[in-house]
Symmetry: C2
Subunit: 429 residues, 2 copies
């Protein structure tokens, strides 16, 4: 089945900005609360949010095998379970409904009023209930930076790194959508000058520039997913800010990995951009430096050319770019990650989320965390307001944006934006 | 509200074995498929499974604030969300319904036929949908054994271990109930004699004797749970076999912790024994060896005296005890684990599962894994059929049992039993 929704010549009858992340060729999926306080599944074209639940009730998806309530849900999990063929039929149909040549909805004011929302009328929610969340560590530049800082610049990569798409399990319950603020975490740290650990607010709160993919039901317990079939089970992608507390991490993480340093929050962009929409931006991953075991060898291009940028906005100030990176820098791609994750038979379900790990490039202005940008605080960043940052300060807002661009053709993710609040103060009882 | 269900003098009108794990003082909660292929929430007394959905429809829970369908669900998550007061009301009522002095249900044959099942008429399911699963590492004896084997016997414990209830995130999707077999996982390992890693079946499949607790909705993002309130949010406990692949673990786990070595399967006993039922077996934890930070200091006894035993049954052979341990050996208790887990504001929800880590005692016959029992394979265990085991072999069944005993009073967990199958063979397409 062809992806007619990707037709670059298609125009929409909706009025949309010329430089939007969400042209009619994008058609992402999300969940939002409407002006009537109803939760629905929707898509976005330009600055319009479109209620797919209402469209379906009005019969616009006739002929596509969908249950009546598939879009009247508070997560996309069931729709994602319907599988790739259905996602494609729905996305193609949405492109058709909003095509400049199609007047059916355009000329029906009543239907339009029920289906279309402006962005200020809605509130984006978590798009999926995340069953399990895995974080990979797939940027060679990031792993090398970390290894150089904390171990040995001459042997920065650990022996397994070039053989395994290293990953670990994270916490689903603290994944939140863009816009939800995050409290500075407290925890145990062990200052170098102290014999015993101390308790208090983290002094080294950081972002990590990542992207994550969302899966459908992929396999049963025991059953591996071959690397060249992995993409069939990937629904789409979001921007992912993996908030981190570096001082807590340092004291806790040996031998079982990061825990409280990571699980206080991870923020995502709320619109899931489908793999179909990203298809025109497919590109090659870096060439493997070691011979890979067969289960990690793949055919064709499995990465995507996605421009990424991180901004910091101090309270009351203007936002300022900290770093520019690209998803294609990643050494390990999503197909390898999913093949590795399941090679032991681990089951992957609809709504599972797998993040890339920090996406750093090779130049200093492309690093994906404050830890790397300030080299563990030794080179503070000067902001336009004259202040300096080693790490993130209270009331700073961190914004990540991402988009693919090819000539005039642009497919974007919007943004993930979140503010760091001071330490949580318990309410008096 | 008193826990009248714990009255040790109470007898039931049901005929039950004298030495059962499930006297009328237990009243655990589980989910099962009935002879009519209906999924329901139930409890167990002796060798009877009791359909709580049917009991509720028949009006036996009148006066307790419960939604009509609370027990007609395929998980306990919503019931657990109802909170401790409701759990206690329901458990006290069940004790009353089956009390030898109460003839209402006893004398109603129609009702009895709708409510009571024998164990061979039902099939136990996962009792909860696990939102997030965390595995702790709370046995000092286990951590010391591992450190002695793989690092340095004189500095076996890492510097953070006596300060932090060390834990890490695990995989929810591969937690399965007793009775479901597990395939031997495949993966990358790095033999000492080889320069490059190799791929193949794990040669060191192991069990880990653990217990896990299940939580209710405990906090919001940002909000810590104080250590002395933690027990209010714990619904109950199960036996937990954390299947492990030691050779895969060794190659993958630095620096982000175990991943594929653990996430192929964890098996649990299907009946959740409530904290109320365990109350008479409350006991002290080992005395802390280091001054604890205030958020980990608690009042009173927070551990439980639960006898644990692991058995191995070779294909066609008889089962044989490998190890006897006790939950009370754990250095860190559940209240400390939950307080630590949330001190940074990490949200904990209904159905989350937190396992203890391997529970080893101080003597060699109380170690909780083959890795420790055979000291990394150097001291194989001799089985009654003459064969030896360094680790678990294909078609071996591992069984864990646990119970509290005080004179004639016994509260047990039943068992978690699972067979290791050979490597998964993909079906021909």
């Amino acid at each position: 089945m062809s992806i007619t929704a990707n037709d670059p010549s298609r125009k929409t009858w909706l009025e949309i900005p010329g430089d939007t992340d969400f042209p009619i060729q994008n058609i992402p999926f999300g969940v939002f609360l409407t002006r009537d306080d109803v939760i629905t599944i929707g898509t976005r074209i330009g600055d319009y949010a479109i209620d797919l639940g209402a469209l379906h009730q009005l019969g616009y998806f006739e002929g596509i095998p969908l249950t009546d309530d598939i879009f009247l849900q508070d997560t996309l999990n069931d729709f994602i379970s319907d599988g790739k063929k259905t996602w494609r039929l729905v996305r193609n149909r949405i492109a058709d409904i909003f095509d400049a040549k199609n007047t059916k909805l355009k000329d029906n004011e009543d239907h339009r009023n029920r289906v279309l929302f402006t962005l200020d009328e809605i509130e984006m929610q978590m798009p999926v209930q995340v069953g399990d969340y895995t974080d990979f560590y797939s940027s060679k530049e990031h792993a090398t930076n970390i290894g150089s800082m904390f171990r040995d610049p001459d042997n920065a990569l650990l022996p397994n790194w070039l053989h395994i798409p290293v990953g670990y399990h994270g916490r689903s319950s603290s994944i939140i959508p863009s816009g939800i603020p995050v409290h500075r975490p407290q925890g145990q740290t062990k200052p170098a000058e102290s014999d015993a650990p101390v308790f208090g607010p983290s002094q080294r709160v950081d972002f990590e520039l990542e992207m994550a993919f969302i899966t459908t039901d992929a396999n049963h317990l025991g059953e591996p997913i071959p690397v060249d079939e992995a993409e069939d089970y990937i629904f789409g992608m979001v921007l992912f800010n993996d908030w981190s507390a570096r001082d807590i991490q340092k004291w806790e993480y040996v031998p079982l990995g990061p825990f409280l340093a990571k699980n206080f929050a991870s923020s995502i962009s709320p619109w899931i951009v489908t793999m179909d929409a990203l298809e025109p931006f497919r590109t090659a991953s870096p060439k493997p430096e070691k011979e890979l075991l067969p289960y990690l060898q793949y055919k064709g291009d499995k990465s995507f050319d996605i421009n990424l940028e991180v901004f910091l906005q101090p309270e009351g100030g203007e936002e300022q770019s900290l770093s520019k990176s690209n998803f294609k820098y990643l050494y390990w791609n999503m197909s390898q990650q999913l093949a590795h994750h399941t090679v032991n038979g681990c089951p992957v379900n609809s709504g599972d989320m797998m993040a890339s790990g920090t996406i750093s490039g090779s130049s200093e202005d492309s690093f994906g965390s404050m830890l790397e940008l300030t080299w563990s605080g030794s080179k503070p960043i000067k902001l336009k307001d004259g202040s300096e940052r080693k790490f993130i300060e209270d009331n700073d807002t961190v914004i990540m944006r991402g988009f693919c661009q090819n000539g005039n053709s642009r497919i974007g993710f919007g943004e993930v934006r979140s503010k760091l609040l001071p330490v949580y103060q318990p309410k008096k009882k």
